[in-house]
Symmetry: C2
């Protein structure tokens, strides 16, 4: 009986860990993106970081790319193509000056993530999305998917990254 009790403690403890790791921001019941049917994956905001980028020009954004466990494992192992089940989420925020940081450094040099602009999702399913390199795409603003016209631009934009399985973002160590 002692063993069973210990096992039960272990189950509860581990279940607790798993639950605490995956709360919040689940919008699994949200609307699906046109063409690809991609939805915002539940718990994505807890995922590990792939890298960060800055997009200037008309965008003026700071961005972060997060990956699910399959994506992160593939990135770290440097394996291409990404396996089915890979999901990458790119979060885009307005790039805004940080008055607080600038005060500390004594000059205007710091920028932080401001209000969210949109999020873009890539889902790997080599059969389902065979015509678009095995990738399904989703573009969401405030939890709502962009229209079909916008989603038609996703794959053509990613085609130049064909040598990296259509993914631009590299892993930042």
């Amino acid at each position: 009986m002692k063993r069973i009790a210990l096992l039960m403690v272990a189950v509860v403890a581990l279940a607790g860990d798993v639950v605490s790791i995956a709360p919040a921001s689940g919008q699994a019941d949200g609307e699906a993106a046109p063409i690809f049917g991609v939805k915002i994956p539940p718990g994505y905001r807890n995922w590990s970081l792939i890298s960060v980028t800055q997009e200037g020009g008309d965008f003026n954004e700071l961005r972060a790319q997060l990956g699910n466990d399959i994506a992160i494992k593939a990135y770290r192992e440097g394996k291409l193509p990404y396996p089915d089940g890979t999901v990458i989420v790119a979060l885009h925020w307005k790039r805004v000056p940080s008055e607080e940081d600038n005060k500390v450094f004594g000059r205007a040099q710091a920028f932080i993530a401001g209000s969210p602009v949109n999020m873009q999702i890539m889902v790997k399913d080599s059969k389902k999305y065979a015509p678009t390199g095995g990738w399904g795409f989703g573009d969401f603003t405030d939890g709502k998917p962009a229209d079909e016209a916008k989603h038609k631009t996703c794959f053509p934009c990613h085609e130049p990254a064909k040598a990296q399985d259509f993914v631009f973002t590299r892993y930042a160590p």
Copy 2:
């Protein structure tokens, strides 16, 4: 017996999940930072994202701040001060142009995380680090801690953020 078997399956399954979530980049046996004794926390590279920043001037860096479960929970609940056990890791990379992105957009506007510069760690322990607002600091380059002189600058630099418990970074939704 069936119940026990099911429990064992659950234990193995959950243990598998937990293990798969926390691999890589553990440098727990590494050198401790002077003054504070802070070490690089094992598995930090799997932690959830707090926000991203860009630091110009002499830095020319893109940065990401990651938090352990205690940090992320406190951020999402907006609770101050941060509870003991909070750990925040800031990763700093050189900000480099992305020729690949620029080609797609047809002009020079994209920057990505280049080579790692350093990482900075904040550990909350209100008793141990009482003289420095309850925070211990660590600054590491290539896994090696900076010297004592550098670590003496950590708390004075963070003092202006006293109203946010000495933490500059805000959570990016």
